[in-house]
């Protein structure tokens, strides 16, 4: 809001002036007065809001924005751009980008530094595939005991077709010099004060040069939306969204591990086989979060909905895992006593989610508990109880959907 970005990053990094501070403080005071008025919307669990280029999404926070996708959008195989969730970390998010001045800078331990225009990025071989983008903290509100952080339901994810250049191709044009160990990625978003850590992420060099990692400039065939990272963003398929740096503008090849806050301190999971610890306890050693766990979700019928007696229903849902295709999805309509195999929909590749379908005809009235459990091609599946860690990450429990038949 305070930061209009024009491609000259200095204007933003140093741009939080005393006047801006007073403006913010004044605004807060003015709005506090408004806040004291009773509002019919307050207290309701979900508040829908409309942000630029977006449809109505569930508001978690407004500055920086965190907006969640209502689950009914997941009935579609591809998540529409306007419905894809939004998650920024620090308040200086880019609201204006001038492609005349915007450049993607590649520097650090390289043979030649590059400053690429968007048109130049588009000249690299064009690669497109569908991949699930999922926030590390998706479903955090289901943790028990509850943990601080963005209180997402299941809507901090989406299945999107990404188009861009291979990061590997861009890095090889710059020339990675010997002795490189990591590559860091910085977006146009900046902190409100220099003391607040800027969002910079890093990947090991070996990961960064994998074939499927993209510098994407299109989502579902159109330019990236501003709130989803215009003009380019990282696509690290199979890994959580924290590495998919938005509004990417600087890549640095490093000769020593990156020690920035968002890698060294934040987005870390317990270094245990499940990434979990006993609920409410502190982990010993932690490691950076990386690959997504296997998940499935029942989308239709919705939780706490009702369906008529004797009427055939097709239970529909989605399943995905961190880069391995889904081998099978089993479904139960009796709370896990008996299970049957779901029919899988069209396979859009190992990074995409797959739709699944299960026919059901309820013959007795009552409340039914529907469950689904996915397994991927290397045998990874889902636990029946939620695994706990203090960050509220990796959630992938077998969910229960209650449906009333009458």
């Amino acid at each position: 809001m305070l930061c209009k970005h024009d491609g000259k990053e200095d204007s933003m990094k140093d741009g939080f002036t005393r006047r801006d501070f007073l403006k913010t403080a004044g605004m807060a005071t003015a709005m506090a007065a408004l806040g004291s008025l009773p509002s019919p919307v307050l207290g309701s669990e979900m508040r829908l809001v409309k942000y630029p280029e977006k449809t109505e999404l569930i508001l978690l926070t407004s500055r920086p924005p965190q907006l969640e996708t209502p689950l009914h959008y997941f009935k579609e195989a591809i998540t529409p751009n306007e419905a894809l969730f939004v998650r920024w970390h620090i308040s200086g998010i880019p609201t204006s980008v001038d492609l005349n001045t915007w450049r993607l800078k590649i520097g650090g331990n390289v043979d030649r530094m590059l400053e690429l225009t968007l048109d130049e990025i588009k000249k690299f071989e064009k690669v497109a595939y569908t991949a699930v983008l999922q926030c590390s903290g998706n479903s955090r509100r289901f943790f028990d005991p509850r943990v601080p952080g963005g209180q997402w339901g299941d809507g901090a994810m989406g299945n999107v077709t990404w188009t861009g250049a291979r990061l590997k191709d861009i890095l090889s044009k710059a020339g990675i010099k010997p002795g490189s160990v990591q590559v860091s990625f910085d977006g146009l978003d900046g902190p409100p004060f220099p003391s607040v850590p800027d969002l910079v992420k890093s990947l090991p060099v070996d990961k960064a040069i994998e074939d499927d990692i993209l510098v994407a400039y299109e989502m579902n065939g159109t330019p990236l939306l501003m709130l989803n990272g215009f003009p380019t963003r990282m696509v690290v398929p199979g890994w959580y969204a924290t590495y998919w740096v938005k509004s990417l503008h600087e890549i640095n090849v490093l000769t020593r591990p990156f020690e920035g806050f968002w890698v060294k301190t934040a987005y870390r999971i317990p270094d245990t086989p499940c990434g979990c610890v006993p609920p409410g306890t502190a982990p010993g050693k932690t490691i950076p979060i990386s690959r997504m766990t296997t998940r499935s979700l029942i989308i239709d019928p919705a939780n706490r909905s009702s369906t008529p007696l004797n009427k055939p229903v097709e239970i529909m849902g989605i399943a995905f895992s961190g880069g391995y295709s889904i081998k099978d999805v089993i479904v139960s309509v009796d709370g896990g006593k008996t299970w049957g195999e779901a029919r899988l929909g069209r396979d859009m590749g190992r990074y995409a989610w797959i739709q699944w379908f299960f026919p059901w005809r309820p013959l007795k009235p009552g409340t039914y508990t529907l469950m689904a459990k996915a397994t991927n091609s290397i045998g990874e599946s889902q636990p029946f109880e939620g695994l706990w860690n203090p960050g509220g990450y990796l959630w992938n429990k077998v969910e229960k959907t209650e449906v009333v038949v009458k």
Binding site: M31, K50, S62, R63, V97, V196
Partner: protein, 110 residues
């Protein structure tokens, strides 16, 4: 006259509402959006003004209202995290006032 004035105000409000939430792309190479105004829903209480000044410099108030009901120790830990981990510049005195406000209004009070 009064009715016309009211009508025009309504049209004005509708126009403003339509303007928000829409992307403005002035040319093909410059893309600009305007974020909608943010709302503050914080409860009235002792220390609210310190919360408004110190917390909202970095983030909107819904970062507070979104959280689960925490104990006082948990809210104090959150405020300390903002200072030590996220670099917020909040004096020790104000940090205590803020923690008290949060646990009183958005926590279990103890």
């Amino acid at each position: 006259m009064k009715k016309i004035a009211i009508l025009f105000s309504i049209i004005g409000v509708i126009a403003i509402c339509l303007a928000y939430g829409r992307a403005e792309v002035s040319t093909e190479t410059i893309k600009t959006i305007t974020l909608p105004p943010e709302r503050v829903d914080l409860k009235q209480g002792k220390g609210l003004e310190k919360v408004l000044i110190n917390c909202q410099v970095c983030h909107s108030a819904d970062y507070i209202t979104m959280q689960p009901i925490f104990s006082k120790a948990q809210w104090t830990a959150e405020v300390n995290k903002m200072i030590r981990v996220y670099g917020a510049r909040i004096s020790e005195e104000n940090a205590k006032i803020i923690s008290d406000y949060l646990s009183e209004n958005y926590g279990r009070g103890q």
